[in-house]
Subunit: 290 residues, 2 copies
């Protein structure tokens, strides 16, 4: 006969799932159950608080659709996404750090050649981005596939704007023979993550804001190397110390240098101020990819 109290319940659940065929699933669920129960005991969760939790998850589920993922947002603001990214991409010193993927990546973005303008009509101050892609021993990586995506000067990605005929602020290019890359785009700005749902309400009740510092997204893959998913942030940018999704790494903050109107890096004469940003990426060898 089973006699369960707030302490013996944990052993009862672990015993019930002890026959799971999949030992990894059992390991995960055992740990999950122990921590879930420890949490409920530690805070002496009341029935009303439990019901509030059920209601929160229900509302998060109902607001989630093909274009909005409230559970990923929740994972992001609770630091879980950053934790999982970090522990799966431990790298030797000298490699470029990874950070969160975010929800705005699009597969098969338009192909560009080095030097092209990937803004493709997105509004913002011009920014010329350049650098190299290398391995940890300094070897240049040719033909690395570089995906770039970013917000416009109102903080929106192209996928958040309806009625666009073409991708904007997003593209794919390949590194040159000597590992160099360069493209033209616009200056990214800080933006708020979607905060009109349960996660936004939670942030507000926790005294937290929903803002992310300005950043450019990069995903770089090359045969024999660990795929790098990361951002570049802006030196001195707002929210660097309070990114709502904990994505900032000091090694990913770079100078976005402002220039008055004049000759740009690509030789053309600009009649407005522009920015330059230089960053050298270092990929890890493939071995640590799981």
């Amino acid at each position: 006969m089973i006699d369960i109290d707030p302490w013996t319940i944990t052993g009862a659940v672990l015993k019930a799932q002890a026959r799971a065929d999949n030992s990894r699933l059992r390991e995960i669920m055992d740990s999950l159950v122990r921590h879930l129960h420890d949490f409920a005991r530690e805070v002496e969760l009341t029935e009303a608080e439990w019901a509030a939790g059920i209601d929160f998850l229900t509302r998060a589920g109902h607001i989630t659709n093909e274009r909005r993922q409230e559970f990923i947002l929740l994972s992001d603001v609770l630091g879980l996404s950053t934790l999982v990214t970090a522990q799966n991409h431990a790298k030797p010193a000298g490699c470029t750090e990874a950070t969160v993927f975010g929800p705005f990546f699009v597969k098969d973005a338009p192909r560009y050649r080095n030097g092209d303008d990937i803004a493709n009509g997105a509004q913002g101050e011009p920014c010329f981005v350049s650098g190299t892609v290398r391995g940890i021993h300094g070897e240049p990586i040719a033909d690395a596939c570089i995906d770039v995506w970013q917000s416009d000067d109102e903080g929106f990605y192209d996928v958040q704007r309806s009625g666009l005929a073409e991708a904007q602020g997003r593209g794919q290019l390949s590194s040159l023979e000597d590992g160099r890359y360069d493209f033209r785009s616009i200056v990214a700005v800080p933006y708020a993550i979607p905060h009109d749902g349960p996660v936004g309400q939670l942030l507000q009740r926790l005294g937290r804001h929903p803002w992310r510092p300005a950043h450019l997204h990069f995903m770089i893959h090359a045969p024999g190397y660990e795929t790098l998913v990361t951002h570049l942030f802006r030196t001195g940018g707002t929210y660097l110390d309070s990114d709502a999704v904990f994505g900032v790494r000091s090694s990913l903050v770079a100078d976005w240098v402002r220039h008055e109107a004049g000759t740009a890096p690509d030789g053309r004469v600009m009649d407005e101020p522009f920015y330059t940003l230089h960053y050298d990426f270092v990929l890890n060898t493939f071995a640590t990819q799981t």
Copy 2:
């Protein structure tokens, strides 16, 4: 500048929510974040496993509607509901134990008088239920409001059957002056919790079945006493040792005594076999209710 790794992320999230006005919310979220992060580190959660978790929650959210609550089901099968119930209803020895509420309660069920047949057409072998409602000092409790609800002989509650004009296997009655109650109903049978969704798939992958042992639900409230939400289980019943939602307490298992056709407790002559079930409930005084 923030430099976050799989360990420092936890402190960064706690710091971010340190300014929450509501100290209880902060206490809960601090504990939740610590346990969530400890879990992810302990099992070294991979990105693919994280994505599977997001997908599970999304599917649970999408299958949840006004008549189905997959998150409560998840809480039930993970033992969280039982833990929360137990820790919020600790009582002096001698009081009837509480167990999980379940999703099949209906407010304002039909009123019956003692001796009435609450089956009201639900199919099953007749069962005559009787007993008393008393306080911990043995005092009879008059006019206690007793809600009863149960499945029929196919394991379905009335709310799971479409097209019923009236409630079946469900009713509300009041204890008599001397604390006694009695009613006629049918014998409840084991049934499977809804298992055609993500929670059912999880149970299957964990090597667990979705069955609950036969039981009658009771909710009893009386002024000055802690409301009691509980079940009565059947001695020797199937699944007593493996209830999918961990609701069984040995103190709640009672003899459902089978009788051959003949005179029933209410004096009528039965031309088929019938059961009797006697249980004396003991309510806690109100003080421990939070």
